[in-house]
């Protein structure tokens, strides 16, 4: 299934509410695909870089960098870059033959005027840049770390909004081209990431229906991150424990209550959002690095039946 996903769709936009591990999941997908032989480009949209910190402090910039993956063997390349709206704008003006004006536009505050006049233009410029990278074909797979929470919707609806409010001109053209990419599942899909907890699950369901209705973009399997693994025999061990008030028993009860909540949330997600689910294990780590990402990538590969080349 996801062999298809990773090979058939050029751009995967990873979205989810803040704190669910979007960046982690996006990076793990990148590693999984690079292991399977794809040339992967990870794109980060906001200036505040979390992605770099996973890869031994690789510094991300507007220009691509190869990520430091330590001893991890990859069959394909794994690169990353930022696409910040302001850089995308300068780039855009340059290509539109307005390069010499960029400085003046920025200094005069005209850009703020444009952004106010045409809300979403920054998001559109970033999307346009992603589309341009996709069209250039320098990577087999582009994984985009979308803005968090409600801003993912704003981000993804920017093109449709601008297409409605502008009748012609380069912005309209740009919006149309982005919408064309969104409408083609072989070029672009959205991966929703959630945690097996109530609020993230509820928001994921809402976002999924919002995206389908307002953007018409295809949804890839939903990734449930941070799933606590079951310990065989824990229930029996609690029943037969000699001291039912000991810390060990309290800890086991905590784990079991957590697992019960988790199962009911995963079940609710399955009922309300009929998408394939991919579960990633909780790693009991407050800090993740390349090794942990590689573990998650393996799980992704298993669940998505990717065959390393």
């Amino acid at each position: 299934m996801t062999a298809e996903l990773l090979a058939a769709s050029n751009v995967l936009i990873v979205a989810g509410k803040g704190g669910v591990g979007k960046t982690t999941v996006g990076a793990s997908m990148g590693i999984a695909a690079a292991r399977a032989g794809c040339d992967v480009l990870l794109i980060e949209l906001e200036g505040y870089s979390r992605l770099g910190s996973f890869f031994e402090g690789s510094m991300l910039a507007y220009d691509e960098v190869e990520l430091e993956t330590g001893g991890l063997e990859l069959a394909g390349r794994l690169r990353a870059r930022q696409v910040r709206p302001d850089d995308a704008l300068a780039d855009y003006l340059d290509r539109a033959g307005l390069g010499p004006l960029t400085g003046r536009l920025t200094r005069s505050g005209a850009m703020e005027v444009v952004a106010t006049a045409a809300p979403g233009i920054r998001d559109l410029l970033a999307l346009g840049k992603i589309r341009q990278i996709e069209q250039a074909g320098s990577a087999d797979l582009i994984v985009v770390d979308a803005p968090a929470a409600g801003h993912a919707m704003t981000f993804l609806t920017a093109a449709a909004g601008l297409a409605r409010s502008t009748s012609s001109g380069p912005v309209r053209d740009q919006a149309d081209r982005v919408l064309e990419m969104f409408g083609d599942a072989s070029r672009c899909q959205v991966v929703l990431v959630t945690l097996p907890e109530e609020t993230p699950v509820t928001e994921t369901i809402e976002t999924a229906y919002g995206l389908e209705e307002d953007v018409g973009i295809k949804l890839a399997p939903v990734v449930i991150n941070g799933v606590w693994s079951r310990i065989a025999g824990l229930g029996e061990a609690v029943e037969t424990a000699s001291d039912s008030t000991s810390l060990a028993v309290q800890a086991a009860r905590y784990r079991m209550a957590r697992m019960a909540d988790q199962e009911s949330e995963i079940g609710r997600l399955a009922v309300e959002l009929p998408l394939q689910q991919v579960r990633l294990p909780y790693l009991f780590r407050t800090e993740l690095g390349v090794a942990e990402l590689a573990t998650l990538a393996e799980t992704l590969t298993d669940q998505l039946s990717l065959t390393p080349s």
Partner: protein, 371 residues
């Protein structure tokens, strides 16, 4: 051993004289729940508290056990536990479009001017999709609630970190825009009758029209022409809001979680507050694993059945990592704001992970007590 928890009264003391509490934090740290718990804690001492959430999801309503949805107008929260409190808890969810409309109607000379602005396409865009508008309208709403005699205190559940900074910067946004040289020379034609547009401005306008189409540029010109005369009111309020946010009546409460990436964001927020000459008045570390790592580790070495031992080891290792992260946050907060001799450290309160989502108010009351 668990590091010493500051006495739970320290936070209430730090917030005692504050009229406005801004809860800041990155996504997923439980900011809304912490805001709701704080409201309950304050109401228990007889205060009339209103919580305003910027988050359009139902989280605040859920946290407060409210069946219906919240709107721009505060709703009094009821329920057996709340009814027993000496004070009152009110909750509201920001409606940016409604707030903007209220502001425009109150500032416009007459209904005709108000209607012209409200029906302009740019206005509709401004209120529905411009990122930053939510934050700006939240600041306007804060101003209204702060001056509303029904409430002693206003708690703001701000949007996640980056947008929270937009919130702090937002009050002057529209007026900075209106004051801008470009706007002055292009969008305020009545001031410009005697002065032709200079060449530079004309070039800029042509480029804008080429980029977004000339009809949109016309809309902008019309909007700001209609806006004229209202800017004085906006400017006055913007400076009042800025004063309120910078003044002694406003507290900044950082909500964090014991995870490395959340911690980085917490530091980012602290650094940004510092740059704006604001300092943090309290820290809540939410969703901490409720185990003492030392005791758990000691026990995991004892004779236990394998499933119990594995579970305890996993949880103990997590609790140990969390404690280390919280220590680092503590050090960072102290370094940002070293406690002067006569002053106490910034209080840092840890709240244990709530297993079942805080729906019935019992869980929230427990949290409120911890605060």
């Amino acid at each position: 051993m668990i590091d010493a928890v500051e006495s739970s009264g320290a936070l209430s003391k730090a917030l005692a004289n504050k009229k406005v509490v801004l809860c800041l934090g990155s996504g997923g740290v439980g900011k809304t729940t912490a805001s709701a718990a704080l409201a309950l804690a304050m109401a228990s001492t007889g205060e009339r508290v209103v919580v305003l959430t910027i988050d359009p999801a139902r989280r605040l309503a859920d946290a407060l056990g409210q069946k219906g949805s919240l709107g721009n107008e505060p709703t009094r929260v009821e329920g057996s536990i709340i009814d027993g409190l000496a004070g009152e808890v009110w909750a509201a969810m920001l409606d940016p479009a409604e707030t903007f409309e209220m502001v425009v109607r109150s500032e416009a000379d007459d209904d005709v001017q108000a209607e012209r602005i409200l029906s302009n396409r740019l206005f509709v865009n401004l209120t529905t999709s411009l990122s930053g508008t939510n934050e700006y309208m939240a600041a306007e709403r804060l101003h209204q609630l702060h001056h509303d005699g029904r409430f002693d205190r206003v708690i703001i559940d701000t949007p996640p970190s980056h947008h929270a900074m937009d919130f702090l910067d937002s009050p002057g946004r529209l007026t900075r825009f209106v004051d801008h040289r470009l706007y002055r020379s292009v969008f305020a034609p009545r001031h410009q009758l005697l002065r032709p547009l200079n060449v530079g401005t004309r070039v800029v306008m042509r480029v804008l029209a080429r980029l977004v189409g000339s009809s949109l540029v016309d809309d902008v010109v019309t909007f700001f022409a209609d806006f004229e005369g209202m800017d004085a009111g906006f400017r006055r309020r913007a400076s009042e809001i800025e004063d309120l946010l910078a003044g002694p009546d406003t507290a900044y409460l950082l909500v964090a979680a014991a995870r490395r990436d959340r911690l980085e964001e917490a530091k980012w927020i602290l650094g940004n507050l510092e740059r704006r000459h604001r300092s943090v008045d309290g820290v809540i570390v939410n969703r901490v694993l409720p185990f003492d790592p030392g005791a758990a580790e000691a026990l995991a070495e004892a004779e236990l059945s394998p499933p119990l031992a594995r579970n305890l080891r996993e949880l103990a290792s997590l609790a140990r990592q969390e404690a280390a992260l919280i220590d680092r946050l503590r050090q960072f907060v102290d370094a940002e704001r070293p406690p002067p001799e006569h002053e106490e450290r910034v209080p840092l309160v840890r709240l244990g992970e709530q297993l079942t989502p805080v729906h019935d108010l019992t869980g929230l009351v427990e949290m409120a007590k911890a605060l």
